[in-house]
């Protein structure tokens, strides 16, 4: 992961939006998911708000007692024959995994989706060590074959059109280039992936939840791909962020009911798999990873983001994400949760993300664990501004604007000048891209016949509380 150049999400988004029907399709598919979520909740989950509140409080309780729960988890996992490893950061995580795979002579690793492994840059690390890594989730596999990172936490290839995938599969797995039927493309990948599953020497997964009471963990998929890896390969390694802990099994009854509706608008994930110790004839390892989480825990403004269950609901609803696409963030986490998480990983690189939001707050409304996403985005904006954030031009502009607005006479004079400018200046001048970037995508408002002040003086002019 490059740490130097600041990301420019607006540029990547502009390219995405200029590319034919890509953006409207992306927007529609994600909004459909959001609407499916709403319909399911309205129809079948009358206790939704109660569930959200419970989930939020269970997570906050766990995070405020995280050291106890981690120790419980470790002891109970070990009792069941699970090997527990601890990693302070991405490098330690990768080294532990690399050593384990080396000891088992692994040449082919099959892995299911894991945001944490992506965060750690694990796949390139293992590939440099000569291990072939195959993604087993269909969307992740599409992205792997495309040479692109995933663009959505839950739907990694959501930004790709069917014809893009058809072209990719024709090149990579030999399908008919004219075959644009999603069913037959998925079938082709099933047939291509199956032999790899059977040949894999080791399987890796992430975890959606880790249960302190039992030392077990839960992986949710719709394809069953995590289960195939774990059931067939002799070694299973799960990477688990320390924030994934929940106290007891019964709490799964809260979180699994929130996850799938939020993620896809489905009542439940097709496969909700519970791992408590190695399967017969297998070996099970868990790597508990910190990588900045314990530090975030001490940040009063941002520790609640650790409640995140990675459902992707905030992406599906975000007007900025839906229009600009996930790759424009150039980050492990996209959308509102990405805007909140990425600046702590590297503020210099991700300083533009807090402004890549309309602050409409839709993310906060849909979050199943009630993370105050909008407020956290706003606080990051403030942090960026305090640390010399906006450009010199923006800062000067804001300072002048502040002084003008503080003086009623001056502000009226400027407003009047602006009205005349809007009415009289030629279009070419008003919409000159460098002076008015806002006008690239939008029309300036038409000037009303009367200002609000004129209207107010005319209608309420005699009232006592009328002060200029």
């Amino acid at each position: 992961m490059s740490r130097s150049l600041p990301v420019r999400p607006d540029r990547r988004a502009a390219a995405f939006m200029a590319d034919g029907d890509r953006e409207p399709m992306h927007d529609r598919q994600l909004w459909d998911t959001r609407q499916a979520r709403d319909a399911l909740i309205a129809e079948r989950l009358p206790d939704w708000e109660e569930l959200r509140e419970l989930a939020s409080r269970v997570k906050e309780h766990t995070l405020t007692h995280l050291d106890d729960y981690l120790e419980q988890f470790e002891a109970n996992a070990a009792r069941r024959g699970t090997h527990v490893h601890w990693a302070r950061d991405a490098d330690e995580h990768n080294a532990i995994v690399g050593d384990l795979l080396h000891r088992h002579g692994t040449r082919l690793l099959i892995k299911s989706k894991s945001m944490l492994q992506q965060e750690c840059g694990m796949v390139p690390f293992l590939q440099r060590r000569g291990i072939t890594v195959v993604e087993s989730d269909l969307g992740e596999r599409i992205q792997q074959l495309s040479g692109e990172p995933p663009s959505h936490i839950v739907a990694p290839a959501i930004h790709q059109r069917v014809e893009d995938i058809a072209r990719l599969f024709a090149r990579e797995i030999g399908t008919d280039p004219d075959d644009h039927d999603p069913r037959s493309l998925a079938e082709a990948m099933r047939r291509s992936a199956r032999p790899l599953f059977l040949r894999a020497d080791a399987a890796m997964t992430g975890a959606n939840f880790a249960v302190a009471q039992t030392g077990g963990f839960v992986v949710c998929t719709n394809e069953g791909n995590a289960d195939i890896g774990a059931a067939v390969a002799p070694v299973h390694i799960a990477s688990i962020g320390i924030e994934k802990l929940i106290p007891r099994l019964e709490h799964l009854g809260v979180f699994t009911r929130l996850l799938a509706p939020s993620a896809t608008g489905s009542p439940f994930t097709q496969f909700t798999s519970h791992f408590h110790g190695p399967r017969r004839g297998g070996e099970l390892h868990v790597v508990l990873v910190d990588n900045g989480r314990s530090e975030r825990l001490g940040n009063e403004d941002h520790w609640r983001a650790l409640k995140c269950i990675k459902c992707g609901a905030c992406l599906n609803t975000c007007p900025v994400y839906r229009r600009g696409g996930g790759l424009s963030y150039e980050a492990t986490y996209e959308g509102p949760i990405g805007v909140v998480l990425q600046p702590s990983a590297d503020l210099a690189r991700y300083r533009a993300l807090p402004s890549y939001s309309s602050l409409c707050g839709s993310c906060t409304e849909v979050c199943p664990v009630k993370i105050d996403l909008r407020d956290q985005i706003y606080r990051w904006r403030r942090t960026v501004a305090e640390q010399g954030g906006p450009s010199a031009v923006e800062r000067t502009g804001m300072r002048i604007l502040g002084e003008v607005l503080a003086r009623p006479r001056a502000s009226r004079a400027v407003a009047s000048a602006a009205r005349q400018a809007l009415e009289r200046l030629p279009r070419a001048t008003l919409y000159r891209a460098r002076l008015n970037p806002w006008g690239r995508e939008r029309e300036l408002p038409t000037v009303p016949a009367q200002t609000f002040r004129q209207w107010y003086l005319e209608h309420r002019g005699g009232r006592r509380d009328d002060r200029p």
């Binding site: 409080r57 995070l63 995280l66 394809e223 289960d227 799964l252 009854g253 439940f268 519970h274």
Partner: protein
């Protein structure tokens, strides 16, 4: 300092002021007893513990309302929910009738691999010493301990599967479920079963599915292409 101790020390130093653990809504809100069939022979202390927590029931009795609560409504609600997830639900009188149903549903199956005593199939799952031996299975037949009316999910564990791969490598999966072993919702389910009793436990709600290509829902992504639950009226 080891990584473990360093992480725990930093968590301890940084953790925000304590927030209390909220109580969850009570178990078996219909007043029905959870089915005994859900529990395995080996009752562990954890299972006993979660049983003891039923006293919370009164506190949060309302709120988590679901249409199907009483015993008689549950099989119907289960079938509807399962169909919604892309599975199908068929009634059978006795476990021994399952063989005929499987023949009828999958007339062209070469390998029917069974983990159920009453249905021998063409191969017993116990004969597979290695998961790779199950790569050619057309139809896997297993028993579930519990069903969930809210989601249509069935609960299967390594105990019933013997070799866990049978649940995911079989092209099609047939699951036998006692019609009395259905609970109302997921929360009840987690209290009725002893999840940690087996190294592998799976809530399976319909067959393998994906929407990763053009947001089109497709069944049979990597795991089973179809899931058929046979609701058994009479226990063996």
């Amino acid at each position: 300092m080891s990584a473990r101790d360093a992480i725990l020390a930093r968590v301890r130093a940084n953790r925000p002021p304590a927030i209390e653990l909220p109580e969850l809504p009570g178990v078996a809100r219909s007043g029905d007893k959870l089915p005994d069939v859900a529990r395995s022979g080996a009752e562990t202390s954890e299972a006993a513990q979660s049983g003891a927590e039923t006293s919370d029931a009164a506190r949060f009795g309302k709120g988590m309302s679901e249409p199907a609560r009483s015993g008689e409504e549950l099989p119907g609600a289960f079938a509807t929910a399962l169909e919604r997830m892309g599975g199908r639900c068929l009634p059978v009188e006795r476990p021994t009738d399952a063989a005929a149903t499987v023949d009828e549903l999958f007339p062209y199956a070469h390998v029917v691999c069974s983990a159920v005593d009453e249905l021998p199939g063409t191969r017993r799952v116990a004969e597979a010493c290695d998961p790779h031996d199950l790569a050619d299975v057309d139809v896997g037949v297993v028993r579930a301990r519990l069903g969930v009316a809210e989601t249509g999910a069935v609960w299967v564990t390594e105990r019933e599967l013997v070799v866990t791969a049978v649940a995911v490598l079989s092209q099609h999966l047939v699951v036998l479920l006692d019609r009395r072993a259905i609970v109302a919702d997921t929360l009840d389910a987690y209290r009725a079963i002893d999840v940690a009793d087996s190294p592998y436990g799976l809530f399976m709600a319909g067959p393998s599915a994906t929407a990763d290509i053009g947001s089109v829902l497709i069944h049979g992504a990597q795991g089973a292409r179809s899931l058929t639950v046979l609701l058994v009226a009479e226990n063996a």
